[in-house]
């Protein structure tokens, strides 16, 4: 990357980069295909931690044991675009593109993920929080690549759900919401993460909404308040997918659905969840 300079781009699955190039949104001087680097597709876990190589595809993640272990991961991986895109698109590409419509950046806020980045000056570990700095802008240095996503395995009393809405399978989402909840023995919300995707120029981490729920019982009133706080934190931009107002109303539904599914999963229920489309 150092040799080719700032105009070079790293190519993973190409499902964002090649599309941006066709639209002339990006015109790299050189493309460096990471596909020839072996061993970047792993999906590993031990009792404490999950480590996913940056070149693991959405399809491989959805079909891996992680999908059953951590349901929010499967909701997301299985709901991205369509079969064909899931077979090519990678978790690392989704993050490194800084595309506000990509699902992983928002989702990984619910798991407090860390991102391993490597460049000529060595490795650094960046928190997911703040990694996407602006539209198509990440904290990666121009000569750095993302190599691994890692996060702690949620405790046994914790579960999550990722809900999305899109116009059709291959379309980018209109909006998405991810919720990871940890319940106490007496059904209080011990901890929670709420993140919104396609709801602004960067992923939105709805910390105010989390504060509403933390330490409280999850009931109609607290869920309503948290949803309102989450929707207030969103900064949706009007585009062909809908007006700002429409997107806020979609987000409200998604946040509630995700809280409901996450809570039921915490109690051991099996709940099907993915991106909805017509």
């Amino acid at each position: 990357m150092r040799e080719y300079g700032d105009g070079a781009r790293a190519l993973a699955g190409g499902q964002t980069l090649l599309v941006l190039m066709k639209l002339r949104f990006d015109e790299p001087s050189d493309i460096i295909d990471l596909g020839s680097i072996p061993d970047m597709c792993y999906i590993d876990h031990d009792d404490d931690e999950v480590r996913i190589g940056a070149l693991a595809t959405h399809a491989a993640i959805a079909e891996s044991p992680l999908g059953e272990m951590i349901p929010i991961i499967k909701d997301c991986a299985n709901g991205i675009a369509d079969v064909q895109v899931r077979n090519r698109g990678t978790i690392g590409g989704s993050l490194a593109s800084g595309d506000p419509s990509c699902d992983w950046p928002a989702l990984l806020h619910t798991l407090d993920a860390e991102l391993l980045c490597e460049g000529p000056d060595g490795q650094r570990i960046l928190p997911i929080q703040g990694f996407v700095e602006d539209l198509y802008q990440t904290a990666l240095a121009p000569n750095e690549i993302l190599t691994e996503v890692r996060f702690k395995r949620p405790p046994i009393n914790s579960s999550g759900a990722y809900a999305g809405f899109k116009r059709c399978a291959p379309a980018y989402p209109t909006a998405t919401a991810g919720v990871q909840i940890t319940l106490t023995d007496n059904n209080l919300c011990q901890d929670v993460r709420i993140a919104l995707g396609s709801a602004g120029l960067t992923p939105i981490h709805a910390t105010d909404a989390e504060r509403v729920l933390r330490g409280k019982a999850l009931n109609a009133e607290t869920i309503e308040q948290a949803t309102e706080a989450a929707v207030n934190a969103a900064e949706p931009v009007e585009d062909m997918r809908g007006s700002e107002r429409f997107k806020r109303s979609v987000l409200a539904v998604l946040v509630k659905r995700a809280i409901d599914a996450a809570t039921r999963r915490c109690r051991g229920e099996k709940v099907e969840m993915s991106h909805e489309y017509y």
Binding site: L11, L18, V19, S29, D82, Q84, V85, N87
Partner: protein, 164 residues
């Protein structure tokens, strides 16, 4: 800036429908262009060219991908299957017969992509439910049929392939 640069050409070795091909190509060439223009396998269509419509769907190492969003150089050393690979010994594949019998096409433009997505589905899941069929071809758009007859055709082909 890239215009002034001499474009390096790269050798690729790609197996398509069981036959090995070696070509020296520009790195910018998309897999779909490689298939259509270098190999003259024009069954694979370019529809939207934006990773949306699925008309360009082919199997890359057994998995359906949109060949308009894969560079041919990324498919080096890979196995590709296109719609031309479905027919065996002058016999149409049961999916092709079913699409014909059940009117699973009108203009036919989306059909090669539909066939490749459904071929991959049945290879992985010989008895798909209606929901699974719908999910498998969710990345393939059809502007004529309303999809109904396509679902029927895939279901019929699945049943026929189990019987035989």
């Amino acid at each position: 800036m890239s215009i002034t640069k001499a474009v390096e050409r790269i050798e690729v070795n790609i197996t398509v429908n069981g036959q090995d091909y070696q070509r020296v190509i520009e790195p910018r060439l998309l897999l779909v262009q490689f298939l259509r223009e270098e190999l003259r396998l024009t069954g694979t269509r370019i529809g939207c060219d934006t990773t949306y419509c699925g008309a360009c769907t082919v199997l890359l190492n057994g998995k359906p991908v949109k060949s308009c969003t894969v560079l041919a150089v990324q498919a080096d050393q890979s196995e590709i299957m296109t719609v031309e690979g479905l027919e065996q010994d002058d016999e149409l594949h049961p999916l092709q017969t079913a699409f014909s019998e059940h009117h699973g096409l009108q203009c036919g433009y989306c059909t090669p992509g539909m066939l490749m997505s459904s071929y991959a589905l049945l290879a992985a899941n010989p008895k798909p439910s209606q929901k699974e069929i719908r999910k498998a071809i969710a990345g393939n758009l059809c502007r004529c049929t309303g999809y109904h007859n396509i679902f029927i055709a895939i279901d019929a082909a699945a049943k026929k392939m189990q019987d035989s």
